[in-house]
């Protein structure tokens, strides 16, 4: 057992740190640090910088632009990126559809989509959830009926994050409504979002922002070659994807950064308010424990499969993320109401965004497998209950 990074890993960390803090435009990193919303262009620009340096999709197979990194190196890459306020590569591309295509797609599908996916030339949207299929994802109803060389898709997806920017959408669709189990009969289909019959409707969230959408399919015709893997095996691919997602949504690094920034924001008040100091120290300790757990998980997941303890990371990671957003609201106090303040207001930026962010991050314990789903996984898979 040892604590220190190997010389090789320490050098790797230094390399990542240098890259992220020098090669990604300061204006983009400032936007992230200030917890303001990124534009589509900023997200694309960042990913293309990373991709040009071979740092956008390290978790992919090497032949498609991935890196033969150890899990620890991947962890370092991810943490340093967050600590440097660099927006991560778009999860829909880099962590979700990319790995699925790389693992299960035909050679044609791979060649057609993977390079453009890595470079964010295609912006992918996710078409999994439906109004009546939330945590119970497998009960989805969107159908894809085979007609000759095409599928005809009908139904509705929802919670499609940043779907307003989407070029393509990867979907789970029901191709065999008569399958004995609902998990069977589902396929994984790639759909061009400019297809006739496909419409995107924005959903306003409680923070007033527009980041999710509904996507409607009305007799949308999709070439059969857009199927990933085998027909009716989509549930397997979805499980593979969701396992990867879970690992990605426990952003320890960004929460650490937020908490450190909260200390700067609070400034002198910490010294005069012991309860505030204790609250911050407590959060800091919990975050450290979580980070160390992430490192343990990393150290023990050599086989590339998601470690069951990744549910711990998602569950606790989002709780702490939410706790830090709540801390900001309390730091802002009465100023937290001034979310709509404009130029000329004396309310500082961080205070204006505090409540909308707090409200927005209530989503963190719902999406990517709700925390109830994570508890279920821990109870069943780990504890055998």
């Amino acid at each position: 057992m040892k604590l220190r990074l190997s010389e090789e890993d320490a050098a790797f960390r230094e390399e990542m740190r240098t890259f992220f803090t020098t090669q990604v435009p300061q204006s983009i990193r400032d936007t992230v640090a200030a917890r303001r919303e990124l534009t589509k262009d900023q997200i694309v620009e960042t990913q293309q910088i990373l991709n040009a340096a071979g740092l956008a999709v390290p978790n992919w197979p090497v032949e498609w632009g991935g890196k033969d990194w150890t899990p620890l190196q991947r962890h370092i890459w991810h943490e340093e990126m967050q600590l440097a306020s660099v927006p991560a590569p778009l999860a829909f591309n880099a962590s979700m559809v990319g790995p699925v295509i790389a693992a299960f797609g035909s050679q044609e599908v791979k060649e057609r989509f993977l390079p453009a996916t890595a470079n964010l030339d295609i912006w992918w949207s996710q078409g999994f959830s439906e109004p009546d299929a939330g945590s119970d994802l497998a009960s989805l109803r969107t159908t894809a009926r085979r007609e000759g060389d095409e599928y005809v898709v009908n139904g509705q997806k929802t919670w499609t994050t940043l779907g307003q920017y989407g070029d393509w959408i990867f979907t789970l669709v029901r191709t065999d409504p008569d399958a004995p189990k609902k998990q069977q009969g589902i396929s994984f289909l790639l759909i061009d979002m400019t297809s006739p019959g496909l419409t995107v409707r924005p959903i306003e969230l409680i923070d007033g922002g527009h980041e999710v959408n509904e996507v409607f399919f009305e007799d949308v015709r999709v070439p059969a070659e857009n199927l990933v893997g085998e027909e009716n095996r989509g549930w397997d691919y979805a499980k593979f994807l969701l396992g990867n997602e879970r690992v990605g949504v426990a952003p320890v690094g960004s929460t650490k950064r937020w908490l450190a920034a909260a200390k700067e924001t609070a400034g002198e008040r910490i010294a005069s308010d012991p309860l505030l100091a204790a609250r911050i120290a407590d959060l800091e300790n919990e975050l450290l424990a979580l980070e160390l757990t992430a490192l343990r998980v990393v150290a023990h997941s050599a086989d590339g499969k998601p470690h069951p303890a990744s549910s711990v990371l998602k569950l606790r990671g989002t709780e702490l993320q939410q706790a830090v957003t709540e801390l900001y609201v309390d730091l802002a106090g009465p100023l937290s109401l001034a979310s709509g303040a404009q130029d000329g207001s004396d309310v500082p930026d961080w205070a204006r965004v505090s409540t909308p962010q707090y409200l927005n991050f209530r989503k963190a314990s719902i999406y990517g497998g709700s925390n109830e789903v994570q508890r279920q996984i821990i109870a069943k898979t780990i504890l055998g209950l």
Binding site: S129, D132, G134, S135, D136, S139, T158, W159, I203, E204, L205, I206, D207, G208, V212, D273, L275, L276, Q322, E326, V329, D330, A332, G333, P334, L335, S336, L337, A338, S339, G340, A341, Q342, G344, S345, D346, V347, T355, P356, Y358, L359, R362, K363, S365, I366, Y367, S370, N371, E372, R375
Partner: protein, 371 residues
Amino acid sequence: MDFTLDSEQTALRDAVRGLLSKTYDSTETRREVTKTDPGFSEKTWQQLAELGALGLPFAEEDGGFGAGPVEVSIVAEEIGRVLAPEPYLETILAAGLVADLGSPEQRADVIGRVAEGALVLSFAHHDIADAVVATQSGDAWTLSGVKEPVLHGARADLLVVTARTDAGVGVFLVDPAVDGVERTGYRTHDGGRAARVAFDGAAATPLGDPSADASDAVALAVARGQIALGHEAVGAIDVALRTTTEYLKTRKQFGVTLNAFQALTFRAADLYVSAELARSMVTWATLVLQDEPERAVEAASRAKLQVSRAGRHIGQEAIQLHGGIGMTAEYSVGHYTSRLTAIDHTLGDGSEHLARLASTVTDHGVVDPIG
């Protein structure tokens, strides 16, 4: 000791509930109203006045209706139930200072018009940087400095402003139309309105004797506001909890309704506990205000702390138990969470009140609720 409403109070509650539930019959209706300035319905404001809801706590000789804290709480709770955006709290709080401190002329001028719905008041109290300072020149007073956020400060017809005087704290009436007042209004996250109000030598009229410190009067007025806000929160909590339990009974997942999942129903039970405790505490605080006003500041802190805890617990869990739908602006429950968060941070949040109570915890042995 008696916790029941009398028949007049019940009638008041039913009347206000009738009006507000018709006016704000859906999330969509409320969103429409809050979308455009002033962020509330002037018509509903008039209707509240017609019901007598706006003059309740004020003396009849001033133009009020001679009711008390219980009646204010009843209205506040109904406002909370539908998240009515009307500036009730702000107006009542500010008018209360006029009633407490003002000369007979000032009272006659302001209270009657408030009761008629002809005046929206705003209480400009929070100094964002240096305190607003009041300066005397002969009989005339002027104010300089910035207050922000001032709830409903851009729409208000009249501002009640706290300012630093040589004696300590003074309270002033300011006509926002005078020179030297600049108001910049904006939306708040809960659909409400607030403003930056800058005074630059703005003419102001003292409420009461400006050579005396008005801190105690301000503290009592704030306590009244805190307790009314507590009732508003309790109304919102009640509906948020009901909405959530209804959802658990009807939403299906994995082939059954959600109330088949004990992990969820037990959490709902814990929410009920929080809601009941908060209701007990704010009801008590109202009665303290009515019967033992000398304890009202302490009681208000206790109520505000309890409501802060309950509001966070229920606001957060209401969304979580709903799942994604709870995050959307089209659905009701997230607006309740947003409003509960705003209430928490208006007139002192939970941490502030806990710190206050902690600083006096050794002043007594047990807390005796009935004095």
